[in-house]
Point group: C2
Chain length 343, copies 2
Amino acid sequence: MGMTESTGTGDSKEILTIHDVARELGVSASTVSRAISGKGRIGEETRQRVLQYINANSFHPNAAARSLAQSRTYNLAIIMPEVRDLVDMPFFHTCMHGAEEVAQANDYDLLVVTTDGTNLHPLERMVGNRKVDGMILTRTYENDVFVEYLKDAGVPFVTVGRCYDPKVLQVDHDNAGACKELTMLLISRGMEKIAYLGGGMDQMVNIDRYAGFRQGYEAYRKQPDKRWIYTDLATKNQISRAVDELLHLGVDCMLCQDDFICNEVVQELNNLKVSIPGGMRVASCHYSRLLDNYPVTITSLKFDIMDIGRKAVQVLLDQLNGKHPRPLTMLDYEISLKESTKN
Amino acid sequence: MGMTESTGTGDSKEILTIHDVARELGVSASTVSRAISGKGRIGEETRQRVLQYINANSFHPNAAARSLAQSRTYNLAIIMPEVRDLVDMPFFHTCMHGAEEVAQANDYDLLVVTTDGTNLHPLERMVGNRKVDGMILTRTYENDVFVEYLKDAGVPFVTVGRCYDPKVLQVDHDNAGACKELTMLLISRGMEKIAYLGGGMDQMVNIDRYAGFRQGYEAYRKQPDKRWIYTDLATKNQISRAVDELLHLGVDCMLCQDDFICNEVVQELNNLKVSIPGGMRVASCHYSRLLDNYPVTITSLKFDIMDIGRKAVQVLLDQLNGKHPRPLTMLDYEISLKESTKN
DNA sequence: TTGTACGCGTTATCAT
DNA sequence: ATGATAACGCGTACAA
C-alpha cells in the first residue's frame, strides 16, 4: 500500500516474501521453497546459499500462505475446563505448560480454549475455521460430547484421561491401579475403615479412582461400608459436612479423591481440632503443591503432570505426521507414604 | 485427494468453500463474501438468503485464506513467564483466562507462549511468521527486552504491568498507591516497625510495590530501618531466614510483597510457633487463594486478576481496530483488613 | 537440478 | 446491487 521501495541496499523492516529472496539470489521462488522445506531435490550449494541468506535477513515464511497451500496450520488447541475454583487449576495449567513445551519444540503453537463440559461451540468454530491441526482434551467424561464431536468431525485429537473408545488416542495414568494399590497399602497398615471422599462421577478420572478404591478392598475380600463413601462432592460445604459425619462414624482414614478435596478435608479437620494422624489419618489420590501448606506431610499418589502434557502432544504430533502411535500411553505413578497415615 | 463426489443431495461432511455456497445459491463468490463480512453494499434479501444457507450447512470461512487475504490472523498471543514454582502461577493463569474470555467473545483465539525474561526466540518466530495480530505481556521488567523488541518490530501489544514508555499500551493496578495506602494503614494502627519482604527488583510490579511502601512511611515523615527490608528474595530458604532475623529484630509487622512470599512467611512463623497476630502481624500486597489455607485471615491488597486479563485484550483489540484507546488503563484495588494485623 | 504455472480460499478492486 | 478478476504468499506437479 503505497510503500516506497527500499533504496538499493537490503533494508531491515521490509517484510520479505519468498519471491524477494528468489529475486535477490537470482533463483526461482520454488527453489527457495525447496531449500526451506527440504523437500524435492536441490543442489547442496544453492541450498546453503538460500539458507544463509534467509538467516542473515531473518526471513520467515508467511504462516497463512503456508497454511493455505498445505492445509496445515501448525496449531494445536488445548481444551481446558471452565474455571470454577482457582485452586483446582494446577493440574490443567501444569499440563498445558508441558504441552506448550513440546509444541514449541516442534514449531507448533498452542491455542487455549476453555469451555464447560457441554458447550461445543468454541470447538466448532475452530474446527470449522480449520484453525488447528489437532486438539488436546484435558479432561474426559463418561458421556463425552467432545470426543463424539471430534471423532465425527474427523479431527485428530488426544485425550488426557481415559476414554471408552480404544481407537481414540489417550494418555493417562493408571488411576484405578494406583488407587487400588494405595487402598491396599492403607488396609495393610491396619486401617480397616477407610472413608472415600470423591467428586463428580461424570468424570472418567473420578470413575477410575473410585473403582480402584473398591478393587483395593476386594483384593482383601472385604467391603467398605456404604456410609463411608461420598461421591459427587462439589462444594466446600458438602465436603466439611461429609468430614463431620465420617468422624461420627469413627472411620480410621479418609481417602480423598484429589488435592482439592484433600485440602478441604484437612482444613475442616483443623477447624475441629482433630490432629493428623493422631485423631484421623488422611490420604489423597492426587498430590499438588496445595498440600505443601500443612505442617504434616500427606500420604498420596504422585503423578508427573507436566509430563502428561508433553506426552499428549508428542502422541498427537506423531499421529499428524502419519506415524501410528499406540492409542494408549500409560504413565507412571508413585505412592508417597508420609506422616498423615502413620498409625 | 481422490475423494468421491457426493451423490446428488448436499451431503454433510464435505468441506464447503465460499464458491460452493455461491454456486448452490446461484450468486457469485463475492456476494457470499459480502454477506458474511457485512462490508460493501448488498441486497438485504440476498444477504439473508446467504446467511441462512451458511447457517443451515454450517459453513465457516477458511481461516488461512482469510488471513492471507486480509493480512489478519485473528490470533493473539499471551506471553507467560517460565514456570519455576507452581504456586506462583495463579496470577498468570487467571489473567490468561480473562484474556481468553474476551478474545473468544470477539472471535479471536489466544496462543500461549511461555518464556523466561530474556529469551526472545519464541516471540521472533511468531512475529516472523505473522501468526498473531498482537501480543499480551503478562509481566514487565525494568529493562524489558520484549517491550523493546515489539516496539521495534512494530507489533501491537499491551503490557500487564507498568512500563516506562508512556506510548505503550498498559493495563495495571496502582501498585505503588495501593502499597502506600496499606503501609499507612498499618502505621496508623500502631505498627511502627514494619518489615518488608520482597522479590526480584527487576520486575516492575516489585519496584512499584516497594516504592509504595517507602512512600507510606514518608507520608508519616518516618523511615523504615534498613535492616527491616529484604528485596530480591527468591527461594523459600531465603525467606525463612529473613523471617528468623526479623523476629530477632523485633519488628511489629511483616509486609509481604506477594502471596507466594506471604505463604512462606506464614509457614515459617508456624514452624517457629509464633502465633498470628499475637506474636507477629502479617500483611500481603497481593492476595490469592493460596492464603485461604490458614486459620487466620490475612490483611492484604486485593486485585481483580481476571479483569486485568479482560481489559488487556479489550484495549489491544481496540488498538487493532483503529480506535485509539488511552495508553494507560488503571484498575481498582481493595484493601482487605483482616485478623492477621490485629493489634 | 531448477524454473513455470497453477491451486489453496478469501477479500478487494474494478466494472457492469 | 452484483459479478468477474486479480491479488495474498507459498507448495508442488510438471516441464525443461
